[in-house]
């Protein structure tokens, strides 16, 4: 384990590990017109990530399988500009394939045991700037995709939308300021 942690702290993802890992990446690039969605590989990666990040089994939380968090993440990607989207795809690939080298797992993130996946996420959270950034993006994506589901949020006491259900009336536009109303047009 010491070697594993030391490897993490000493490698710079972009200048070192990235150069080692990227040539080994076998995943297909996103097809034209589909770049604003998760690729099939990325969907698997995020599923494996979410399973250990939010282990809902045996808890009061809404089961992950009942929340369309992957589709919700797709909607995040749809709003990113092309350059940022490219960075996201690259970051996810680095995370996915990084486990081949980092920790000497010799396999992709999705193939790791749940315990190793958890350890891997923690190590990236405590890693260099780029590792922290990528781990942060993944956590944010999953949290954002999961918690925007009203049913999931209600399980922890959040009420969700209320105005329609409670039939709270709208006040409408504010009246013109009384002492500044438009002078009446002379007739």
């Amino acid at each position: 384990m010491k070697l594993y942690r030391r490897t993490f702290t000493k490698l710079s993802i972009l200048s070192g590990t990235g150069a080692l890992v990227l040539p080994a990446c076998q995943g297909e690039p996103p097809a034209m017109g589909e770049a604003a969605k998760l690729t099939p590989d990325e969907r698997v990666l995020i599923e494996r990530f979410a399973e250990v990040y939010i282990p809902t089994a045996g808890t009061n939380l809404k089961p992950l399988a009942e929340v369309p968090y992957l589709d919700n993440i797709d909607r995040i990607l749809e709003r990113l500009d092309g350059a940022t989207l490219d960075e996201v795809h690259t970051g996810l690939k680095l995370f996915d394939y990084g486990s081949i080298v980092l920790g000497f797992h010799l396999t992709r993130f999705g193939n790791l045991s749940p315990e190793d996946r958890l350890e891997y996420i923690i190590d990236w959270t405590h890693g260099g700037e780029t590792q922290r950034a990528i781990a942060g993006v993944l956590k944010s994506f999953v949290a954002f995709g999961y918690w925007q589901d009203v049913g999931a949020a209600q399980r922890v006491g959040y009420q969700g939308p209320v105005s329609d259900e409670a039939k709270i009336v709208s006040l409408g536009n504010a009246p013109m300021p009384v002492d500044q109303a438009q002078p009446e047009t002379p007739t």
């Binding site: 250990v52 990040y53 939010i54 282990p55 809902t56 808890t59 009061n60 939380l61 919700n72 909607r75 995040i76 749809e78 709003r79 990113l80 500009d81 350059a83 940022t84 960075e87 958890l118 996420i121 923690i122 959270t125 405590h126 700037e129 922290r132 950034a133 781990a135 942060g136 993006v137 956590k139 944010s140 949290a143 954002f144 918690w147 925007q148 009203v150 999931a152 949020a153 922890v156 006491g157 959040y158 009420q159 969700g160 939308p161 209320v162 105005s163 329609d164 709270i168 009336v169 709208s170 006040l171 409408g172 536009n173 504010a174 009246p175 013109m176 300021p177 009384v178 500044q180 438009q182």
Partner: protein
């Protein structure tokens, strides 16, 4: 049976908006006295004030017109519907989200309605350091008075203070930290806690339900979904603004507005980008420089009781010394959103640890931290890509630590069992006597803190010296005869406090000068 007395309601002005679908395919050519780019806090106020003075006004808003009835009270949906870049606008490093409204009414539609006057010490420093004696506290007071009256700005009443706000204020009092109910521009608040998703029942007095309908009632033409792209310039004057309206089918239609005066009110990010794109107004070389943003975090403290910090007024109380912002100044605002925000604002760990963290959501005290940061950032184009180059400066890091320290101590004083710091690596303080040592050990760096900015400012600095500023004391862009900037980009320094009221007051003041040009 006696007759029930009828209360005569004042007539409600109607907001008339021309959406891109209503722009003819052949485009639109308009003539106006004044064209205003942007419909947020400053654009809307300017539109009304100049319309009130008889000017023929056209307002161009790049974002869509979303009537309040379509607000969803779901934050994620609101990001898509109402926020710049779907709520995904970040700094260049990607470690700070910069939230801005991108809709008719701008950020006033999606803010927490918190209002403060600019601290006197800040306005006085602008006079001393930037020659802006015209903005002294005494000079600005009537404008603050006016917008406070128009927008129903008032301190939260006792019924608007939720348990979260009361506990945080109680904790602050025990530590002799100044605290008070926050003031908000709201009328008969329904206490739904959904301010950041837009006020569905039109109680928040945003520009969407106040100054824009008022301007519309006075004859202003308001176009939504219409982005100003370029200018026609002759002899130091912008004579025509070229904009593009994009309809629901994605068809782009030209909207050209000829006007005697141009007022830019697109906010501290879009305003400098527009000037940079046009290559205008940059004789000082400072367009886009001096960006600052009150980098904010959200702190959680686990309380033994059910607090439900998201219920009630989105921000109910505040704590901190805001009278005289200086190095190390901070402001804490009691309030929080639901579990989505909690998970993105704090690192609750992973696996079982994370599940335990979120299952306690209703137990958390929550407050937003703001600091009085230095103007160290820059907004610019990078091969067609918008860039906000801003990182927390080492000089500002002690302020962030001071905010963490104050919030943590307040939470413990209010009875919290533990405190979660807004770090990207899970950091939990278990006891009050650990607060100083844990927070003193923190270091500044990228991707170490969960930062959000709600208050971009400073990229079109106002000042008397044309070599050290972009606009003059009257808001006129140096070197251009008929072009004004009236939004928060003109602030020479940050305020520490939420800027919206100062933007309203400043736009009211600047409109007087603009209107006087006839």
């Amino acid at each position: 049976m006696t007759d029930v007395p009828q209360i005569e309601e004042p007539a409600q002005p109607v907001l008339r908006v021309q959406t891109p679908d209503e722009v003819p395919a052949a485009g639109l050519k308009l003539d106006a006295d004044v064209v205003i780019i942007g419909s947020g806090a400053s654009g809307a106020v300017t539109a009304y004030e100049l319309s009130q003075r008889g000017a023929k006004v056209v307002v161009l808003e790049a974002g869509p017109y979303v009537p309040s009835s379509r607000f969803t009270e779901r934050l994620a949906g609101a990001f898509d519907q109402l926020y710049e870049d779907g709520g995904k606008q970040t700094n260049k490093s990607g470690d700070m989200v910069v939230l801005q409204g991108s809709c008719l009414g701008g950020s006033t539609v999606i803010n927490a309605a918190v209002c403060f006057r600019a601290p006197d010490a800040v306005l006085e420093s602008w006079g001393q350091n930037f020659g802006l004696d015209n903005l002294s506290p005494t000079a600005m007071a009537p404008y603050f008075d006016k917008v406070e009256k128009n927008l129903h700005i008032h301190p939260n009443g006792p019924h608007e203070l939720n348990l979260n706000g009361r506990l945080i204020s109680d904790g602050a009092k025990r530590l002799d930290i100044p605290t008070a109910p926050a003031s908000r521009n709201i009328k008969h608040c329904a206490l739904t806690g959904h301010c950041l998703s837009g006020c569905k029942t039109e109680r928040k007095q945003s520009m969407l339900v106040t100054y824009l309908p008022w301007a519309s009632e006075l004859g202003a033409t308001i176009l939504s979904g219409t982005r100003a792209e370029s200018f026609e310039v002759n002899n130091g004057r912008i004579t025509e603004v070229h904009a593009v309206a994009t309809d629901a089918e994605g068809v782009q239609k030209a909207v050209d507005v000829k006007a005697g005066l141009v007022v830019v009110a697109a906010g501290a990010i879009q305003t400098p980008l527009l000037f940079q794109k046009a290559g205008l107004g940059n004789s000082s070389g400072l367009v886009g420089s001096n960006f600052a943003c009150h980098p904010s975090t959200a702190m959680l403290g686990e309380h033994p009781d059910d607090v439900y910090c998201w219920l009630g007024a989105t921000i109910s109380t505040y704590a901190g010394n805001i009278e005289d912002p200086k190095e190390g100044s901070y402001l804490l605002e009691a309030g929080f959103m639901g579990p989505l925000s909690m998970s993105t604002a704090s690192d609750g760990g992973v696996g079982k640890e994370y599940v335990e963290f979120v299952e306690k959501s209703k137990k958390y005290l929550g407050a937003v931290t703001l600091i009085h940061d230095h103007n160290v950032g820059r907004v610019y184009w990078d091969n067609g890509r918008k860039r906000i180059d801003y990182n927390l400066d080492d000089r500002d890091f002690p302020s962030l630590q001071a905010a963490f320290r104050a919030a943590a101590k307040i939470y413990f004083a209010a009875g919290a069992k533990r405190v979660y710091l807004p770090t990207t690596r899970r950091t939990v303080i278990e006891r009050a006597d650990e607060v100083d040592s844990v927070i003193n050990s923190l270091e500044n760096g990228k991707h170490l803190y969960k930062l959000t900015s709600y208050h971009p400012q400073g990229t079109m600095r106002m000042g008397k010296n044309p070599k050290a500023s972009v606009v003059g004391p009257d808001g006129k862009v140096h070197g251009l005869d008929n072009v004004y900037v009236v939004d928060a980009s003109v602030f020479p320094t940050t305020l520490l406090v939420n800027p919206q009221e100062t933007v309203y007051a400043m736009a009211t003041y600047l409109s007087e000068g603009i209107g006087a040009r006839g």
